[in-house]
């Protein structure tokens, strides 16, 4: 599974940076979408394998994995919807469509999953979480406020902008929870923790991608197959590697 994902990832990378379909934007669009859907499918399949093998006597982690599985399924459906919208319905950059609906619910699943993952480890106190939440709410609130107020001032506050703003909220929640989850493991080069650190890195790339995507789509500079999609697919690759690492731990490999 990981080998197939690496091959698809490398092909996608070559595609993103080689400008191979420079004179055929439609073909570029099709390949850009198809690569993402294939990687997203591989990520989902790898998560299904892990969930199926996960022991029943670790209930909070097993439930967390179920929510990751649901999140990945919704992200895949979102990717397919985006592909259908762009290729078959000819809507370029269909923000505010069905794809966003599935990605939104997918994000909620990931947030629930991270909360469940946090609950399986001992925490001496919740002070760090409260501290992170305060900082996160302040920064997130400020970014949200400046985005919305700028849109209102320019008279460009539309559904698609509102949806992009909701992602800011998700991103900050995910960021805070991820920092809280991996904080105790980050300085420890311990192979038992690799899967968590890879997962955290994957979410971070997603958060960064969302911010850049929001800005690019606002200024009309984004197109499917843009090199920035690298961050998007790194998230799926991370999910594949997390699954592989977990599978190895569970197989005592």
């Amino acid at each position: 599974m990981a080998k197939i994902a690496i091959v698809v990832f490398v092909l996608h990378l070559v595609f993103l940076f080689s400008n191979v379909f420079h004179d055929a934007p439609n073909l570029h669009n099709i390949f850009g979408n198809v690569f993402i859907v294939v990687l997203s499918s591989l990520a989902l399949i790898s998560v299904i394998f892990v969930y199926a093998k996960f022991p029943e006597n670790f209930p909070s982690e097993k439930r967390g994995n179920l929510f990751v599985l649901l999140g990945m399924l919704l992200f895949l459906i979102g990717d397919v919807m985006w592909l259908v919208d762009e290729i078959f319905l000819n809507n370029k950059i269909p923000i505010g469509g069905f794809a966003d609906l599935f990605w939104n619910v997918g994000y909620v699943c990931f947030i629930v999953a991270i909360i469940m993952f946090i609950s399986f480890s001992f925490r001496a106190s919740n002070k760090i979480l409260y501290w992170l939440m305060t900082v996160g709410v302040l920064i997130g609130g400020y970014v949200l406020y400046s985005d919305v107020s700028e849109d209102l001032e320019l008279g460009s506050f539309t559904l698609s902008h509102a949806i992009q703003d909701v992602y800011i909220l998700y991103d900050f929640i995910v960021l805070i929870l991820i920092i809280y989850l991996v904080w105790p493991m980050i300085l420890n080069r311990n192979r038992l923790f690799y899967s968590w650190i890879i997962l955290a890195f994957g979410f971070l790339t997603r958060v960064v991608y969302d911010r850049i995507f929001a800005n690019m789509s606002e200024y009309g500079t984004y197109y499917t197959g843009h090199p920035i999609d690298l961050l998007y697919i790194v998230f799926y690759m991370c999910v594949v590697f997390v699954s592989l690492t977990k599978f190895r731990i569970m197989s005592n490999d």
Partner: protein, 155 residues
């Protein structure tokens, strides 16, 4: 089964090695009193026909079945215990060589919260938890609380 073994500091090592001999086929052990290197010959012998995983909190030791986690990082220790158990199928024993080593690096009230968390989790995991405690290592009120929380208390 949650076992608390009260002993004296000088007997803790022998009690620990004895408990390992009588543990389940799968073993996860947290070493907080002495490093893996000190126990190595005894542990290699005891683990020749079973699955063992050691979390060394004393010195940085990494090999196939040993990882290092600092004694002061109780969160990381709890995650390591959880993850290590997932590498085995079947019943697992989780054995601490001594709680006193963790007591030196952590506030006793927090250590107590950690132990109660582990006791609760061990019941969820269906694993055997063995806590070896030199009696002088913890304040009396904490020892009493531990006694009440364990299924079996031995001297």
């Amino acid at each position: 089964m949650i076992k608390l073994i009260l002993t004296s500091g000088d007997k803790a090592r022998n009690v620990f090695l004895d408990e390992i001999k009588h543990s389940e086929k799968n073993l996860v052990s947290v070493l907080s009193l002495k490093s893996f290197a000190v126990y190595k010959s005894n542990l290699d012998k005891a683990c020749s026909s079973r699955n063992c995983f050691f979390i060394d909190t004393v010195t940085e030791e990494y090999n196939d079945n040993v990882v290092y986690v600092p004694a002061s990082n109780l969160t990381a220790i709890s995650i390591a215990i959880n993850q290590a158990q997932q590498s085995f199928s079947g019943k697992t024993s989780v054995i601490f060589d001594s709680i006193s080593g963790l007591g030196v690096n952590n506030d006793q009230a927090i250590l107590m919260k950690f132990l109660l968390f582990l006791i609760r989790k061990s019941r969820d995991w269906g694993s055997e938890l063995v806590l070896i405690l030199p009696e002088e290592a913890l304040e009396k009120k904490y020892v009493e609380l531990l006694k009440q929380s364990c299924d079996e208390v031995r001297k």
